[in-house]
Amino acid sequence: MSEQLLKPHTTAGTAAAPAIELRQLTKKYGHLTAVLDVSLDVPAGQVLGLLGPNGAGKTTIIKMMTSLVTPTAGTARLGGFDIGKQRSRAVQQIGAVLEGSRNVYWSLSAWQNLLYFGRLKGLSKAEIRPRAERLLRELDLWDRRNEPVGGFSRGMQQKVAVAAALVTDPPIVLLDEPIIGLDVEAARTVRHWVRRMAREEGKTVVLTTHQLAMAEELADRVAIIRDGRIITDLPTRELLDHYAEDRFEIEVSGMTTTVAAGLGAKVAMESANGQATIQLPTSDQDALHAVLNELHHSSVPVLRVSRVRPSLEDIFVSLLKGDVGHGNDS
């Protein structure tokens, strides 16, 4: 049997074409705008972290990319195929773990689920078997492959969902909150898999998550969404550098409220177990010396002075609050 391989008949059907192209994607539910004018190009092999608060529009974007939700306007191309006009070919490009759903059949075993989802996408049993076996072995599910998924722990069920999304070896993987509700161990396994998919297998991954540390660890690029709009879209390192206003942190012991009041309103302080961390808003040396002098005069023992960079979480919170300017460079 011969299977014709088709190049996408689009302007983007070149070797350098992005794996995912979103153009002015918009979704309105009556008067409510869920997503507005979202345009993104995700190159092959990139991990894009799609971040935003609840209701920002992350899941709606994922569902429009998969044709589960019809956009009000705009287009989405996967591997060069338009999801609206070439759905059959476009969906062959993707594997997805969708948020808030089981993703797999609980009445079936892990093995039966992988066979089912492989065949659903047209693969023969002979094609699926080696992939399914490799996935289940690597996810430590091989010994329990014949048990119904309904009897598995939440973490194991999510592993089966990840395996089912990957069983067809799709070039694009969409992960909508993949570690929500997972314990530490299961979350670590999923994180390991995302890293591996991107680094070793060159897959394009779109990851929506509330776990900002996970996004910082795994995403090559971060797009932050608020009220259906992308407010920042930068490579992760660039984003961190862009907002990387270093600041000083001073750890002290025996801090009193009187001393704290004397440090000024711009200084933040957290204290616990007789120790306190004083955070200066800038890396200004004069400000640091002023605070240290005040501490010295008040005889407060200084334990450590360090220069720190804001985490993605700090930047995310600041962006959503509107404390810093937007860095939408794309």
């Binding site: 299977e3 794996a19 569902k63 059959s88 997805a96 609980w106 659903l120 047209g122 694009i172």
Partner: protein, 282 residues
């Protein structure tokens, strides 16, 4: 990363349809206890109808019910129930399983198949419905035949009304599926539609004995004609006529129209659900 995609071949379509069929059969097997519970109800209902239907005059005159079964009437009833049981099982199982898939979110995953959605929503369930109803009908036949002598003519041309019954039922199931995608909780509508179909299609009483309005409603129903065609062949040992109730024209026409109409309703319902973003919302 590849930017290529395979054309969807006939072999892949068969694989995917076979896949849905296996899933449907697995679901059927997992619900075997439920089927075993439903089965006596089907049989009791059939027997009660057999004991009482058409005996109102005798009951009114004597004040008593003659607890005997008429072989001819029971054969007539049994064929009606065969047709109705298939449609009932197909539609009801499809509805509840679709609802379960919407609720669990697995429906969204099936929509990531390159296969057209109506194929995987309907195709796999047809074989499962045939298997389940074949079992139900076989037991009904065995029990009835143990109580009364059932004389049927087992001819190949009986397969035609059965095949068109499957086509028409698929249409009705798709229509219900389309409505389910939009409104989710429609069991009342579903049950009412099936009760109406049972009453007017001639499963219990001949359509000629129904009120005029019921006869008018029965005419465009695929079940009316498949049932009448089946009785012509297996009961009367006659060939299927071209015209009239149970004739080839009506049987074929209603089955195709119901299939197309069901497909259209399904597609509209699906598009509404996709526009609302409610394919998996419960």
């Amino acid at each position: 990363m590849t930017t290529t995609a395979r054309t969807w071949t006939a072999r892949q379509t068969m694989t995917a349809v076979g896949n849905e069929t296996v899933k449907g059969l697995r679901h059927g097997w997992s619900e075997r206890l439920q089927i075993l519970i439903e089965l006596p109800l089907f049989i009791v209902f059939l027997l009660l109808i057999g004991f009482t239907a058409g005996k109102a005059g005798t009951i009114a005159a004597t004040g008593q019910l003659d607890w005997t079964l008429d072989p001819g009437h029971m054969a007539w009833l049994l064929l009606g129930f065969v047709a109705y049981a298939y449609t009932y099982l197909h539609v009801v199982k499809m509805f509840w399983r679709l609802l379960a898939e919407i609720q669990s979110g697995t429906l969204e995953q099936t929509y990531l198949s390159p296969l057209p959605s109506w194929v995987h929503v309907v195709a796999g369930r047809i074989v499962a419905a045939i298997a389940e109803s074949a079992f139900v009908v076989a037991v009904m036949y065995a029990v009835t035949a143990s109580l009364v002598r059932i004389e049927l003519h087992w001819r190949l041309d009986a397969l035609l009304p059965l095949a068109l019954l499957i086509v028409g039922s698929a249409g009705l199931a798709m229509a219900i599926a389309g409505l389910t995608l939009v409104w989710k909780r429609i069991p009342l509508l579903n049950d009412m539609a099936l009760m109406l179909v049972m009453f007017v299609s001639g499963a219990i009483l001949p359509t000629t004995e129904l009120p005029t309005w019921a006869e008018t409603v029965a005419k465009p129903l695929f079940l009316t004609h498949s049932m009448a065609g089946l009785r012509s062949v297996m009961l009367d040992d006659a060939t299927i006529p071209i015209r009239g109730t149970g004739g080839l024209t009506w049987m074929l026409g209603t089955a195709i129209v119901w299939f197309i109409a069901g497909f259209a309703v399904f597609r509209v319902g699906e598009r509404v659900a996709q526009r609302r973003g409610s394919l998996s919302r419960y």
